[in-house]
């Protein structure tokens, strides 16, 4: 199918984009990488009266270190993150998750801001943002505000972004150098959306677990932070039993749906399996980091 007609704007500055958004409100769609929006348009599942194409807003494309944080402009391509030495060094979890996003030709266009704003719960980036306690910077006509990832994802494909706001930046605080990370997922085919994915960052010393952060993708209407499972790890340590109990808890915390690819039961089961695998691999990586 072919897209329905729409007015098209390609602003070159953020202010211009925001003014257009203010003008059209809900009738407009912001076009970033287009890897989710364009299929919706092509299937005629979306009929915006205008597209505001922000691909020429150069000020939104950057990846830099600032005050100990890594700040990524919303228009930064997934491909740029994949080949960024800074991302690989400072945000290895984000880097690993990036290689799981679709395929390279998708990542050429797909942006970090677009992926977060689209808020597909099965996508990798929302879960990574959640588990790394990222801050999202949103800009609207009234100015900028910043919101933690945990408050950003509201429900299925729904975020705290107001209709006249644009995500402009994502800020990550790198985990301590001693911590390990892992993004484990199961998809039907290479490059597909995960049936379930689990992201973990843990900081261990022997069997002791100093901090643990865990989140699941594809297991509910939003990415889900697995705090009660984290608590078990910190309390019981990364012993076989601690890991097993944390994984079992994770399976209780998620709220998956059934679809043609997997039942809710199977997704719960996978959450348990992948949580355990993520903890184990993160722990191994943490040990390698220290060695």
């Amino acid at each position: 199918m072919k897209p329905p007609p729409f007015a098209y704007h390609a602003p070159t500055h953020l202010d211009e984009a925001l003014a257009l958004l203010e003008r059209y409100g809900d009738d407009a769609k912001v076009l970033a990488g287009g890897q989710s929006l364009m299929p919706l348009l092509n299937f005629r599942l979306s009929y915006p009266s205008a597209l505001i194409d922000i691909n020429r807003v150069a000020e939104l494309s950057y990846l830099r270190q600032e005050n100990g944080q890594v700040c990524i402009g919303a228009l930064t391509r997934q491909r740029t993150i994949e080949f960024s030495e800074l991302a690989r060094r400072q945000l290895p979890l984000l880097h690993e998750a990036t290689t799981l996003v679709g395929h390279l030709p998708i990542r050429t266009r797909g942006t970090i801001g677009g992926s977060l704003a689209h808020a597909d719960p099965a996508a990798e980036y929302p879960t990574v943002a959640l588990v790394l306690d990222a801050e999202l910077v949103l800009q609207g006509p009234g100015g900028r505000r910043s919101i933690p990832a945990e408050e950003f994802f509201v429900s299925y494909l729904t975020t705290a972004l107001a209709p006249n706001e644009i995500v402009t930046e994502i800020r990550f605080s790198p985990a301590p150098r001693t911590s390990g990370w892992a993004f484990e997922e199961v998809a039907r085919r290479h490059g597909d959306f995960a049936l379930v994915g689990v992201a973990g960052v843990i900081d261990t010393e022997g069997e002791q677990c100093r901090t643990a952060r865990l989140a699941a993708a594809g297991a509910g209407p939003t990415p889900i932070r697995l705090r009660a499972a984290e608590d078990i790890l910190v309390r019981e340590g990364v012993t076989e039993q601690g890991i097993q109990r944390a994984a079992a808890k994770a399976a209780e915390l998620v709220e998956p749906d059934s679809d043609i690819h997997a039942s809710a039961d199977f997704r719960r089961h996978l959450t348990e399996v992948l949580t355990r695998r993520a903890i184990q691999r993160a722990r191994e990586r943490g040990q390698e980091q220290r060695a």
């Binding site: 729409f6 098209y8 211009e16 287009g34 597209l51 194409d53 679709g102 390279l104 030709p105 266009r109």
Partner: protein
């Protein structure tokens, strides 16, 4: 500030090294512009939702789905399509001694039976091109992962994987960095 416009816009871009202009409605997909307006029918339309990869081209040197871009978005861009891989390739049929102008990837696909119906082939070639420029010495698993961006229904991918392995070697030898 740009005015709302559903009507045609003029775009200028470079395709396979040549400057091209066109008048396009904003909603026109880049792949339709290439095929219908520029007559470059090598890039194929297989799904229009970014899964099959038959429309993959290089946008500013990087592989991308031309069914998930609007033609207006390519204004000012540098594109390469399958037609640009070996502009000097002779006309069919391939006669002995006249195929030296094929790109090493094309030559390897020919040698290793990396195509049957040929419909996915342009997207497969452009994806492999990008794969080898980002990873000149890929393992078989890396080739398979890279090529998983494009669906082929005929070959079972085996000839394609072998072709990409062979082309990687040719390209490395050509650069003298083996």
């Amino acid at each position: 500030m740009s005015e709302p416009n559903e009507r045609s816009q003029t775009i200028t871009l470079r395709v396979n090294g040549t400057e091209r202009r066109g008048q396009v409605e904003p909603r026109k997909l880049l792949v339709d512009f290439l095929r219908e307006d520029l007559g470059l029918t090598g890039s194929h339309v297989g799904c229009e939702h970014g899964i099959c990869g038959a429309c993959t081209i290089l946008v500013n040197g990087e592989a991308a789905r031309s069914c998930l871009m609007l033609a207006v978005q390519a204004n000012g861009a540098e594109l390469m399509t399958v037609e640009g891989l070996a502009p000097q390739a002779g006309e069919p049929p391939a006669l002995p001694g006249k195929t030296g102008q094929l790109h090493p990837l094309q030559a390897a696909f020919w040698e290793h039976h990396g195509l049957q119906c040929g419909f996915c082939t342009p997207g497969m070639l452009m994806t492999a091109y990008d794969l080898l420029q980002t990873n000149p010495m890929p393992s078989e698993a890396e080739i398979r992962a890279g090529l998983s961006a494009v669906l082929c229904r005929c070959t079972g991918y085996q000839g394609i994987v072998e072709a990409v392995q062979a082309a990687a070697e040719t390209l490395r030898a050509r650069r003298g960095d083996r």
